[in-house]
Amino acid sequence: MEQLEIIEVIAVPKKKKSALYELWRRIKRSKLAVAGLVIIVALILTALFADIIAPYSYDQQNLKENFLSPSLKHPFGTDEFGRDIFSRVVYGSRISLQVGFIAVGISLVSGGILGALAGYYGGKVDHLIMRAMDILLSIPGILLAISIVAALGPGLVNLMIAVGISSIPQYARIVQASVLSIRGQEFVEAARAVGSSDFRIIFKHIIPNVLAPLIVQSTLGIATAILTAAGLSFIGLGIQPPTPEWGAMLSGGRGYIRNYWFMTMFPGLAIMITIFGLNLLGDGLRDALDPRLKN
């Protein structure tokens, strides 16, 4: 067998770093994905350091200086209460990210568990869970969210729950399909052949392999959650004032759109850029995580 190794000298497989590095390397290929990543990182930093970045508090009113156009003092102008729009947009990143992440967290965890159960056990369990998901899916998301907010009352937490619940089916479907396909792959059988328990198979073999589509879906899901939350604000079921939620700022400012363009423009742009970044990143991740591109 010594002969087998001689050739290692010449045919060296390219040495690669960790999986994370590998992911970064793949994302890096697409300029758009990198742009998305930059936007999101910037957004997260803004949210983390909002206190430092924002020149004013988000609820500091000055009724005498309302509707000021953008200036050095107030880069995005002031709103009807004389609050600094720039500061509100900066603080708003916290809210939007919270809404996005927690709502997606809710749907990810519940959808993921349901989907995994359905996919792994198959048969009746699968049928039952997936039909329930069909039912949930056939109620329009925003209506479901409205009903839930109406039932639970408005507020940040309930909003996140509402948005979260209404997108459970999507995650359940993805996880179910992935689990189903991964369960059928030979490496799962190979794990069983060496004596691995179901538990180990699920956690060591199946879940890590389902993550890729889930990460993509979650990235896009955060975007949808932020948009849905904004939509709910528009119908008047959003977050309580004076919380600087972008959707609420946008819909609150809509009456002023013809007089004071900056009141809607900046929160609107903030939403747009955020969603844009998330989508760029999501698309990029989708490509980067695509197993077919693995060489």
Binding site: S138, I139, P140, I142, L143, L227, G231, R254, I275, N279
Partner: protein
């Protein structure tokens, strides 16, 4: 085929039960007494109580649901609106045409933009066109629809004076709402078309078609698009279903009396029969569209067709 359709239609029954039950439960736990909302702030406790009794609201939860289901099944009666006292069916049918037209118009916008752009992007992958159109598509999904709607109104009504800002009575009225609503869908369709085409275009049978000496446009339109259609139909169907569920925001911005607004208003007014009936109706149309989509699959893909036999 007929058997398949029948099976699917039968399958709707549990779905509809499920949907009504969920909505019923949600409405039940929602605070807000419809009797009070109807009677207004000055009604006496007695009249409210009397009305509650008349509406059956004093019954236990499951009895109320059972009564509803029984009436719906036995008498095809899904009740009358608490608010307007009109039959729920009439309420829904009153707003459905607008929603349907809006959905169709938005879908047309989405398809007419999304599919061609998606195809060109795919065959010119990594070109400037591809990058730019994908960026635009992404902007499409990134813009809150109500903001886009407002900006459209400012542009087309206020600044240019070309289009009316509200209502839904003529083609002219439909343009802006269809654009606002279609933008998001167009973006989704574009992306799906592109990725589906990219997937297909790498397939061996495309190479076969080229090896025959077939020219590129036929290869793309006949061989590639024909096979890329399934996922495109899927998103178009799904989106259409969602649109039929009511585009609350668009309807509100453009003052269009549609299903979405009816539902939101009814939820706000605790007009339970209308909410129930509306969701039932939406779920039904959603399911029917799914069925239609599946039948379309069978139409475009013989492999699926043979499964339905």
């Amino acid at each position: 085929m007929i058997k398949y359709v029948l099976r699917r239609v039968l399958f709707l029954i549990p779905v509809l039960f499920g949907v009504t039950f969920i909505v019923f439960t949600l409405m039940y736990i929602t605070p807000g007494d419809p009797a009070k909302l109807i009677l207004g702030e000055q009604a006496s406790a007695d009249t409210i109580q009397a009305l509650r009794q008349e509406m059956g609201l004093d019954q236990p939860y499951l009895v109320q649901y059972a009564t509803y289901v029984k009436k719906a099944l036995l008498h095809q009666d899904i009740g009358r609106s608490y608010v307007t006292n009109r039959p729920v069916m009439q309420e829904i049918m009153g707003v459905f045409p607008a929603t349907f037209q809006l959905a169709i118009a938005a879908m047309l916008v989405a398809i007419l933009i999304g599919i061609p752009v998606g195809i060109i992007s795919a065959i010119k992958q990594y070109s400037i066109f591809d990058t730019v159109s994908m960026l635009i598509a992404l902007l499409g999904v990134s813009m809150p629809v109500f903001w886009l709607g407002l900006l459209l109104i400012i542009l087309f009504t206020v600044k240019l004076g070309w289009l009316p800002a509200s209502g839904f009575t003529s083609v002219k009225h439909m343009i802006m709402p269809a654009l606002a609503l279609g933008a998001m869908t167009a973006a989704i369709v574009t992306r799906m078309t592109r990725s589906s085409m990219l997937e297909v275009i790498r397939q061996d049978y495309i190479r076969t078609a080229r090896a025959k000496g077939q020219n590129e446009s036929v290869v793309v339109l006949k061989h590639a698009l024909g096979n890329a259609l399934i996922p495109i139909i899927a998103v178009v169907g799904l989106q259409f279903g969602h649109l039929l569920g009511g585009a609350v925001l668009t309807e509100s911005i453009f003052s269009i009396p549609g299903v979405g607004r009816l539902m939101v208003d009814s939820i706000k007014m605790r007009d339970f029969p209308v909410v129930q009936g509306g969701v039932l109706f939406i779920a039904l149309s959603f399911s029917l569209i799914n069925l239609l989509v599946d039948l379309l699959y069978a139409y475009v893909d013989p492999r699926i067709r043979s499964q339905y036999k």
